[in-house]
Subunit: 492 residues, 2 copies
């Protein structure tokens, strides 16, 4: 996942390219078309349906849910999503927006999903192309010490000879502003405490512009993590319009604390920072779209998703290779069982999520014309560790349906439905009233590895991924096959 | 701490240099001399003492133990050992054997302890001088990937252009020998599972020679740790006599697993390794010795210790800055309270522990002539996290005394006495029958940071260090002040 409220991008318009739109032939039902108006009728029909009827209807899926779970957790598909993820990330490595690796990753997935027998097509997206270049930092005073750094996405570089300047260490934006006069000509080191990712990421996102406003020449920001083994973490950052763009990188928690202690002792600190970072013209990329067409309402969609891109460190296994893999795996499981729901199941593997949900935003811009046909949008981008719950955002009536749906997950003991799901990539849909669901996993260590060299296959567990895949497939299939779409509040 | 059973070294003879041997003047009792024979008499007297008498004698120290604890944990000395450690490691950084940093560290401590008002002198030691040089490793096939490495202490370097060779990945020495014919001309990657440090460290210590025996050109060994954020760990290694010396380094757990998965898939892997490591002539160094002379039996010694050297990564705060600091702090606490025990309290800050307990071995060689006067040898080299217990090695009669002593630690709830203490630096004494004690702390994460860039002040906690210091001081003082030395079995 990237920061919340990522950077808005002006993105060029693109053409919809449906490379493969033929229906899969795994189900005997003929395709039936249904207008948007009919969908709206379905919505209003649903709202009048009695709770007991809904419960009975959903309970009717107990056997099929059991089949999906058996296949994913104990059957032939056991450990498949893990193996797929390992092969993918071992072969491609990390996949930052604009890189050749991301291009290779999309080709790899297109081929692999096609070989899996699923329909896949690519939808073009223009994406940012920032390159890290060579980078280093060294404390030169009071003693020589290399600082492990990772430049932040969208940062400018330094002059080739680097920037050498005295350091001002602050613990908050408030302290920076209070000591503004001391920041002029300095490298500002932010040693903010980690409170939560959502709160603390503001230092990574806005630290450079806030420091530049008061005359700093560069910023080094304590990595946004509660735990570190001297590991720098990267991520996106936003320059403010009209403010000088200064180089910005994350340092380790350890080095931020070290310089803070030295500053507390009144010691003068000097750092030399060299960054070869630059932004190239936008690159061509694709969202990768996989479908099992609905037999009754093919124009109605349950959307599952994760993002294929990652940062340019580690393997991008956790963020978000796992989410992408279980979103593919869910459709594989349903196909393997010869199932085909009433509505279309559509997996979208987003591109350039880390640059502010770029692929997902473009997808929304193009497809929002069919907003009323989007039944449920699902995103997995907080890891695929042991599943804890499904997070759900939607109307009360929709929640009542979802409460029944998650009961089908009793065989894997993940029947919890939580409120207020998150998800960078599905948020435009949720903000427009489409019900949304996010996977909540045992993520207590997620930010230890996030956007760092530590995001590798080592943090993934095959059995956890089996459980995530089963949950993902059951929820998607059942919602896509219910008589009615999930009820939502009338659209504005 | 270094590996158990470290490398034996042929060390040049050295002169004992007592730079400051005057008695501290903090106690009114005159010094009294006592022959070794008298000490042996004390031992035999003690063995006949009734258990109830010993219990009563030790219980008499409850007030003084309380004073020490109060000073260390709640009083003026609160957080002092932490502050001392932070200032020391922030100022000096890491301190590998033979480095200028280690020389600076010894000078720093000599000055700081003198300013603290304690008697300190230096005893010269010849120590190994291995330098890392520039080093890097890159997987070139099946795809380009940098590998984070740390060359191992005593390793030879590669030719300047590096070594590029195909990789053989094995999970054990047994597999290496079974596949010996495949190792010829290869870089052997050991991907041994982590069982325990004591068991698994054999791969780091002996991997190079074992691989060289079957024709390998270099070895890359999975770091000896149960947890990793892509963090390589260094440490000492031993070349076997008569076996070709090949370059050897540790890689991360993640990269070892990556190459293992690739090998399992039948993929060909090629790595280029470049190491500038070399061994220079032995360097001059010192054990740092701090004393509070005993008023009654100054020739009898309770020895406290930790080591001042570290590896050349991180800050060496945990391994073993903390152990060194609490061993100094214990004497500071006793001095600050105006206490002076019957026997001499001697803190020794070893040099070159990481190279196989070099400073400690030389100390033993010189001082073993006074073996019968060593009452108790103590070592803290497994971290100074929250104290859990005192590990004790000695006769049953001595254990009974120590069981009474640790009861004095009830105010800080660390009254546990465990058997079979460890300690690289005190093991020669324990093997010769001298009672030994090691500090056992909450060390479940110790090897996450050990010998890596993660060994910094971030892993230390001031309150934990207060507790360790209090425990260390109470045990040392009380044992040094009891009427009799700890009973031991008759010496061979």
């Amino acid at each position: 996942m990237a920061q919340k409220g990522g950077a808005p991008f002006l993105l060029s318009l693109f053409m919809f390219l449906s490379m493969l739109s033929s229906l899969c032939d795994c189900h005997p039902h003929p395709v039936q078309s249904m207008s948007s108006m009919a969908a709206v009728r379905a919505v209003s029909n649903h709202t009048t349906k009695k709770a007991s009827d809904i419960a009975a209807e959903v309970a009717g899926y107990a056997d099929v849910a059991k089949q999906i779970i058996d296949l994913a957790v104990f059957g032939a598909a056991q450990n498949r999503s893990y193996r797929r993820l390992a092969h993918f990330t071992d072969t491609i490595g990390n996949r930052v927006s604009g890189s050749q690796n991301l291009e290779m990753a999309i080709k790899y997935m297109y081929k692999a999903i096609t070989q899996d027998g699923l329909d896949v097509h690519l939808e073009p997206v223009k994406i940012p192309h920032w390159v890290r270049g060579k980078e280093s930092a060294e404390m030169t005073v009071p003693r020589a010490k290399n600082l492990a750094i990772l430049g932040l996405g969208s940062s400018v570089g330094t002059p080739p000879e680097g920037i050498e300047a005295e350091v001002l260490v602050v613990e908050s934006f408030e302290e920076l502003n209070r000591r503004a006069s001391e920041a002029v000509g300095r490298i500002v080191v932010f040693n903010q405490p980690f409170v939560s990712y959502g709160e603390t990421v503001a230092y990574r996102a806005f630290g450079a512009s806030e420091a530049a406003k008061v005359g700093a020449v560069a910023t080094l920001i304590r990595s946004i993590t509660p735990f570190s083994i001297n590991s720098p973490h990267t991520g996106w950052q936003d320059y403010k319009d009209g403010v000088k763009r200064i180089p910005t990188a994350c340092i380790t928690v350890e080095d931020a604390e070290l310089m803070w202690r030295m500053a507390q002792r009144g010691q003068r600190i000097v750092v030399r920072l060299t960054m070869g970072a630059k932004t190239l013209p936008d690159a061509d990329s694709f969202n990768t779209v996989v479908e099992i067409k609905g037999w009754q309402h093919p124009e109605q969609v349950v959307l599952l998703s994760g993002h294929l891109d990652s940062w340019d460190v580690g393997q991008g296994a956790m963020d978000d290779g796992g989410g992408a893999m279980i979103s593919w795996e869910a459709l594989s499981l349903i196909k393997d069982l010869g199932l085909r729901p009433r509505r279309t199941l559509r997996t979208v593997l987003w591109t350039a999520e880390e640059q502010g949900g770029v692929g997902a935003q473009q997808y929304f811009n193009i497809h929002k014309v069919n907003l009323s046909n989007f039944d449920l949008v699902m995103e997995s981008d907080l890891g695929t560790f042991a599943p804890m719950a499904l997070q759900f955002t939607g109307s009360e009536a929709a929640r009542k349906v979802m409460e029944e749906v998650v009961k089908l997950l009793a065989p894997i003991n993940t029947t919890k439905l939580e409120t207020h799901g998150e998800g960078t990539d599905i948020s435009p849909w949720m903000q427009s009233g489409v019900p949304g669901a996010s996977l909540h996993v045992a993520d207590s260590r997620y930010f230890w590895f996030h956007h760092s060299e530590g995001d590798t296959m080592m943090v993934q567990d095959p059995q956890d991924m089996n459980l995530c895949s089963a949950l993902w497939a059951v929820v998607a299939y059942v919602v896509a096959d219910l008589e009615d779409m999930l009820p939502r509040k009338p659209l504005d």
